[in-house]
């Protein structure tokens, strides 16, 4: 069970949240072309290591939050609001 520190509600159990996937993607401009939209829609970095991701606090504040989590140890290194610019730790352990 992950314990996720929601910036609005404090630390809560994972079952209150819904995973919403890779948060490193941002929507390309409307005229960015096929390749840009293909990458946005389908390509995933899928890191074995630190991962930037969306979680929706459905059974709490219902806000979308951002996590930096390790995909092997499940350690949560940073948490932020949707608009916060979080960066991945430089070390890429697990590769």
């Amino acid at each position: 069970m992950l314990r996720i520190p929601c910036p609005w509600c404090g630390e809560r159990d994972e079952i209150e949240f819904r995973y919403r996937g890779d948060a490193s993607k941002s929507r390309p401009a409307a005229d960015a072309g096929l390749e840009a939209f293909l990458n946005y829609t389908y390509a995933r970095e899928n890191q074995c290591g630190w991962h930037l991701e969306w979680w929706l606090h459905v059974a709490g504040c219902r806000k979308l939050i951002k996590l930096v989590r390790h995909t092997q140890s499940h350690e949560i290194r940073a948490v932020g609001r949707a608009e916060d610019p979080l960066s991945l730790p430089p070390e890429r352990s697990g590769r």
Partner: protein, 427 residues
């Protein structure tokens, strides 16, 4: 004197006669099932990953396509990856016509597999029974079954009474999700998964393939757009063609060749209960939640549910999904309430963006990808191996797997069995 069917230095053929002979002579004539090969400097084809798909690809390359200059690299010992972590189910009860064709091709290969490999894989066509709980679900299942029958695949509708007769354990009248009936694929069933790995490894090795265990790939060498070999923990190995069969870790290997794939890695858990007397002679799936169960020949109930639901490379599960699986089990089979769980484990898998696998060339010349199996890789092992071998040997896709190419994402031909979209955590 040599045992029947045995020649010096080879494992020989297995037979009832040989078993009797060995029994009478103290079991001294058995030898290792496959050679422990040392890596040579270069091969025509190097397959990364000694799981079900990698071994099957090597076996069919050698036996069907005459390419014997082949190595299979496995980072650990054979059989510890997903080929030994699944719940052993085979079936071809899909909705999309392309999927029905592909998985039916696989099921037919399973039916002849033990004779082909000369290995007892305990293929047991005990039937897979999907229960439905609403009238809308019955309509959906009927549509799927009709689609299967149009392609000559077996599917039978069962009434409530027939479900009860077949599986007395099921609580048909549970308050929330009463069972209205089921659809049975009589030719579905289970296969001893370890024996699949061992059988393919033994047969591939006997056909001349080098199976190199404890050999992890650390880099993919390229000359311009063309692959030339692999850096491994046992040195540089040259290759004309490299085939990745490392589902669960496809993204990591592809990154070594500069590729980003439409794949996320997720964990799927499985469970085995203590052994009990025979209570369940089909593979049973629940229609109102994610739960499926069969009984192994040792008596344990083998069951599982959905993926945990977030990206992870940890080969272990977490408790929320274990609780959900147990909850579904109790709703459907309340008679199991006092059964203890003996073991629990997890395997990490490639969840592709449309829920369907990828057997394809890649933008790097000479690099072939077999991956994206989601949680359906085991049943597809024979077809995955045969069609991947075809792609390597002939340079063009096998007709039943042509739809599994990587290009489908750009051209909009995704094969989304349940119409979910590019959200692997929902597949």
């Amino acid at each position: 004197m040599t045992a029947p069917g045995k020649t010096r230095g080879s494992p020989g053929r297995y037979s009832a006669l040989r078993l009797v002979w060995e029994g009478l002579t103290g079991h001294t004539g058995w030898s290792q099932a496959w050679r422990k090969a040392e890596p040579r400097p270069a091969y025509q084809v190097v397959i990364v990953g000694g799981g079900g798909h990698g071994l099957a690809t090597a076996y069919y390359l050698a036996t069907e396509f005459g390419i014997r200059n082949v190595a299979v690299l496995e980072r650990g010992p054979i059989g510890l990856g997903n080929v030994g972590r699944n719940t052993t189910i085979i079936r071809s009860n899909y909705f999309q016509p392309d999927n029905v064709r592909f998985y039916e091709f696989s099921l037919k290969l399973w039916e002849g597999l033990e004779h082909a490999l000369n290995f007892n894989a305990m293929v047991s066509q005990r039937g897979t029974l999907n229960l439905f709980h609403t009238e809308a679900q019955r309509d959906l299942f009927t549509r799927r079954a009709n689609g299967m029958r149009l392609q000559g695949v077996d599917a039978v509708a069962l009434s409530r009474a027939e479900v009860k007769a077949r599986v007395p354990l099921v609580d048909l009248d549970n308050g929330r999700y009463p069972v209205l009936g089921g659809f049975l694929q009589p030719r579905g069933g289970t296969v001893r998964h370890d024996a699949v790995a061992w059988g393919y490894a033994r047969a591939a090795s006997a056909a001349g393939v080098d199976i190199i265990e404890q050999c992890a790939v650390t880099g993919i060498r390229r000359d311009g757009r063309r692959v030339t070999g692999l850096d491994t923990t046992r040195g540089l190995i040259g290759a004309d063609t490299v085939c990745l069969c490392v589902a669960g870790h496809s993204s990591q290997l592809a990154e070594m060749a500069g590729l980003t794939l439409p794949i996320e890695t997720h964990v799927l858990q499985a469970f085995v209960s203590e052994a009990i007397k025979p209570v369940l002679d089909v593979v049973l799936t629940y229609g109102a939640g994610h739960f499926y169960v069969s009984q192994s020949d040792k008596g344990g109930l083998v069951f599982g549910g959905a993926i945990d639901g977030y990206n992870t490379y940890a080969q272990r599960g977490t408790l929320p999904m274990a609780e959900e699986v147990a909850g579904a089990a109790m709703t459907l089979l309340p008679g199991l309430a006092r059964l203890r769980v003996l073991r629990q484990w997890g395997g990490v898998m490639d969840m592709s963006m449309d829920g369907s696998p990828i057997i394809s060339k890649t933008p790097v010349d000479g690099l072939i990808l077999n991956g994206g199996w989601c949680y359906g890789g085991f049943k597809a092992i024979p077809a995955g191996g045969m069609t991947t071998a075809h792609l390597i040997a002939r340079g063009e896709p096998h007709p039943v797997a042509a739809h599994l190419d990587l290009g489908r994402f750009a051209s909009g031909r995704t094969i989304d069995e349940r119409g979910i979209g590019p959200y692997p955590y929902l597949h």
